[in-house]
Point group: C3
Chain length 466, copies 3
């Protein structure tokens, strides 16, 4: 026995009929707007080479840490799913997933995946044990067709722009190739300097050596190291980058006197540093990056608060990004003060703040963004990129920061096919939130219509200078 | 003048008519399922001896810290209510309560108590000054009848199983008597070792001496102390226990090298330890208990975060459990790491996490439980065991942990008569939550029906290995 | 093109039609109750002198930090708005505001201001660029009339009582003048001792000298300093004060032995103290103030958790209260224990707790207030004084603290014209919350009606001893 799969046109709208009717109308007006994806982790090679994606398991299961973390939590070994284990039969791995698809009830993964199944692949039965092979075959067959190559999907999905994220050590060859290819899709990069900014990053010292090679600067001197950043930021901007991205354990910033910064850099670049040194160096670098942003106009994104690679056993066997990153409590008010003391009132600077700690939405982030000209709030992020997570974000931030200190939606994903699903979800939730304000007479209908377009399209273009 | 008391069949369901209709239908299907109560504090003596409960005040007022803490907060002395003061006229104490029953408006105590009054005792007027004597007499008279003895109520309430909680020093005589009595009710114990695990527990050293006596082990040696635990765990399991329970001030775990653990145990068992030693010893014991659980299969419950006996004046006069336990901020991500580093990927281990700090639901607990195979989330606990508390729990945890990393409901109470009321409340709130997902097209109706049964009955049996 | 402005009679009520109908009916019953404003920052001079308020910009824009912080966050210089810059053309400043009024969509400022525009001034078009001059002229013209003088507005707004807040160093001349004026409006003061209690307050030592002069006590001796407080509290009470107010960075309290308190006071009064000394002194003073409250009956209000003057650049140019106060995480359970250990069970003491950290509502404040006889919960405060903020407050606190451990509404504002708007908002949100409890059959309709009146009027009079 199988169950039908059909996306309801009113999905994710508020239950109340009056609010639902308004949400439906607001959504009708923004559903067709182009997708602007200013922050994410798709692979530029896909678009440069435009090769087919392979089979269902390789595309949808193996790379999606949302999916395999849930299966792992219920006792499925990662090896059996094919994660870093190419010997596995992909059809058998898919079956493990299909048999356990009920585990995703109530999660955003379920919403995104059902969209991919129904909208991208046109499947009309639900994923479960009985439909496992049907799914595997339908998806794998479709992926072999030209209509499912990366560029075709990019165009079909109505993507106006997508940003990827690269290390300063990346040569951006795929972005360069894309520029030269004549294809009209706009794929830009973003500057993510963690590998040369975080002394605790794997291979940090080797990275500095490579940074010197790439730039011709002496990256073992503080002055040369900063110059190398300036040079690479310029190189990235030349390939379209409008932003930088910083994924630190905390939001700490620092503004050390020059000689202290130099001494600190000597310690970290020599590999002789304490955990406190590493933290202070990352903190100092946020302020240095802000200074560079004032010069070159790149928008800063700060993504703090993840405890990376929490599961030591898994990390030893599989390495990074195995779904074992766990959010932690994150403080912003004191942490950001050094950077804000120096640049907080400078209208040229734009810093977009994210958090994994929802308790700071109303307490810290909205009051900060509702005051400092340089601060904006990024959308609900990662574990909170979900219907309830987005609603909590809007309810907790809007009253103090307003809508116009936020920056629209980020899909922040490497799961390319889910990008339209994620934007669809975000637009529906935002329209529902606006509809509730209209029903409670806290907003006029014409204002809600303006806001729906701003949240879906205008704010992101303005905030990311696109 | 009196007011009628009547439990509305739609109570606690969502306001929206479409969601309410679905909730009603889901609930109709689970309302009659047996009650499985895997964690609580009822007295096994009640079921072993099956004596009558006494009067209304002794049963419902004196032992219920939810009730007397509210009355105390509004200036009623505990002595006047009969708390640790048997000389008080129970009818007069009841009147103090009846006159102030409006204080409970909007609280779960009000919901539980109204259920007990209406359903258990068949009273049809509201509790207030004018009905105080009527209540006292009706309840007290009923309690004298055979239909209100513990075993009769157990059966009438449809309880399939109830777990009590005992110290390792308890001889479990009532549980043994129950086994031999031939009565069909299933009452099991749970291993709560705080009195011999927490160096700051009243009488800790005397408890260790008693622990040695009971087990024949030398509980002043680390090896003997651990062996004693293993032995008593086995004894508890023999009388039905499937779980242990750990009520520490924090969630800290530790995994010390043997010689450090031994040295630490020497200090705490000699009574010569600092507060930091005590905390570290409790932390180490969580990891030791996990190791034992892998061997004997007992499920671990961790209940951290209460500041016990916060009110020194009350504590000096009345002792423990006087309604003056206050939740505190609780950290899990770093705290649990030592235990998880050692056993986190072991599918044989099952650890159920509780919290009094809701800010960790979405930030820490759901991401942890949605990744580690050994972790599950206990339900909304203690102060959060309420309609809004349960809704916040589901909304904050489901999107990352799903439903299947949760364990069903715990009533966690010594208020025996309120047990069906608490399960009724939990089932209604869960059905309402599921109904809202259905109305928003985030779940199919047949999935919600499956989930309603899982949340009410199946998950608890699986999680507690019942 | 302009848009009509019209306050909908159902604004801020729940969307669900059944709940809305109940909310409407509850609200109809309390909408006309007098306003009791027990905590705020209006200027007693207004009522004493009864002079006109000036122009629209001076009244509504320049003094309202909610408004100018939002405009500043979007790049408008404070100088251009006329903040501490009287040279600015007020009409041009108003236009900057009018052009950006859309920034306030979804904020409580928008709700309050629309009320002021529509109800206080009878304006029937929305504020936007096209209506900027019409607004400026209409408001400025109205303010020149007798109907818009402070006393006339006080009466028109149905204010039964308003409390202002003064320093112990204030001579209360305006309050004294009001007493002698024969005008019937009740304007009382409140004792806010921060300038002589916080060693880090600007001019602390000079303030102590002035404190000595005013009282004739030797305020450089601990005994004399405490006696000066007692004397000034008595003076304030003589001019109507029923409360004190304490705006500390944290909720820390201390209860030092006399000789330690004396030594600490010597350090802080000599200006030779560490940050830890300052914090400890403020902590000790909360306990000293509690002791005095037991004697003189003044209710204590504790308003902790703001990081004041976070923006150093703005602070250097403009001074205090420039919209750059940011909430911080705030702990209560351990912080309040010294005070509670000494006075927590004393029914004569009444302490009203506020917070800017919503994560403590359910975790710390409701459990504390639901137990200690001396503690009550103040309403949602400052950044949380908004529809969603108030709903979160009720949902998070009611189930543990009940309604009767709360104290009604505080407008806490210096924006005099917004006072009725704020009480209107609070009453509507409370009625909506009660209506939802009725629709879910968690409360009877007659109980909700009683509660609506208690929350709007009775509780505040009782809690503040008015």
């Amino acid at each position: 026995m199988t169950h039908p799969l059909c996306l309801h046109p009113d999905r994710l709208f508020p239950a109340d009929p009056a609010a639902r009717a308004i949400a439906r109308s607001l959504h009708a007006d923004v559903a067709g707007l182009p997708i602007v994806s200013p922050h994410g982790h798709t692979d530029p090679r896909w678009f440069a080479e435009n090769a087919s994606f392979g089979n269902a398991t390789d595309l949808l299961l193996v790379p999606d840490h949302y999916v395999f973390r849930m299966l792992y939590s219920q006792g499925v070994p990662l090896e059996a799913l094919g994660v870093r284990n190419p010997g596995v039969d992909p059809r058998a791995a898919w079956r493990l997933f299909a048999e356990r698809y009920h585990l995703f009830r109530g999660t955003p993964s379920r919403i995104w995946l059902d969209w991919v199944f129904a909208e991208a692949f046109g499947i009309d039965v639900r994923l479960e044990a009985a439909t496992s092979d049907h799914y595997f075959d339908s998806i794998t067959d479709a992926l072999a067709t030209d209509a499912f190559r990366p560029r075709a999907l990019f165009e079909r999905f109505g993507i106006e722009l997508i940003a990827t994220t690269e290390s300063p050590l990346d040569d951006l060859r795929h972005h360069a190739a894309l520029r030269e290819s004549g294809w009209g899709g706009r794929v830009i990069t973003a500057y993510r300097p963690d590998p040369v900014v975080d002394p605790e990053f794997e291979g940090f010292r080797a990275n500095l050596a490579r940074f010197s090679e790439l730039t011709g600067e002496d990256c073992l001197s503080w002055r040369g190291y900063l110059a190398a950043h300036r040079q690479r930021r310029g190189f990235f901007a030349g390939l379209g980058a409008t932003s930088t991205d910083h994924g630190h354990p905390t939001a700490l910033t620092a503004d050390l006197p020059l000689h202290e910064a130099e001494a600190l850099f000597r310690r970290v670049s020599a590999g002789e540093f304490s955990a406190a040194d590493a933290e202070l160096f990352r903190a100092q670098m946020l302020t240095e990056m802000a200074a560079m942003s004032i010069d070159d106009g790149l928008v800063m994104q700060i993504h703090p608060g993840a405890f990376r690679n929490h599961n030591v056993g898994l990390w030893a066997r599989f390495g990074r990004d195995m779904g074992a990153d766990i959010p932690t409590r994150t403080e912003y008010v004191r942490a950001l003060k050094p950077l804000l003391d120096r640049f907080g009132n400078d209208n040229r600077l734009s810093v977009i703040l994210f958090t994994l700690d929802e308790s700071v939405y109303a307490r810290e982030l909205a009051p900060l963004a509702g005051h400092y000209p340089c601060l904006k709030l990024g959308p609900a992020w990662w574990f909170h990129d979900s219907p309830e997570g987005m609603r909590r974000f809007r309810k907790a931030t809007t009253e103090t920061a307003g809508f116009y200190n936020t920056v629209g939606f980020n899909d922040d994903t490497r799961a390319f096919l889910s990008i339209p699903a994620r934007h669809d979800l975000a637009r529906r939730i935002d329209c529902g939130f606006l509809a509730e304000l209209v029903v409670e007479h806290r907003l006029e209908d014409w204002e809600a219509a303006e806001l729906a377009r701003d949240l879906a399209y205008n704010l992101v273009k303005r905030a990311y200078r696109l």
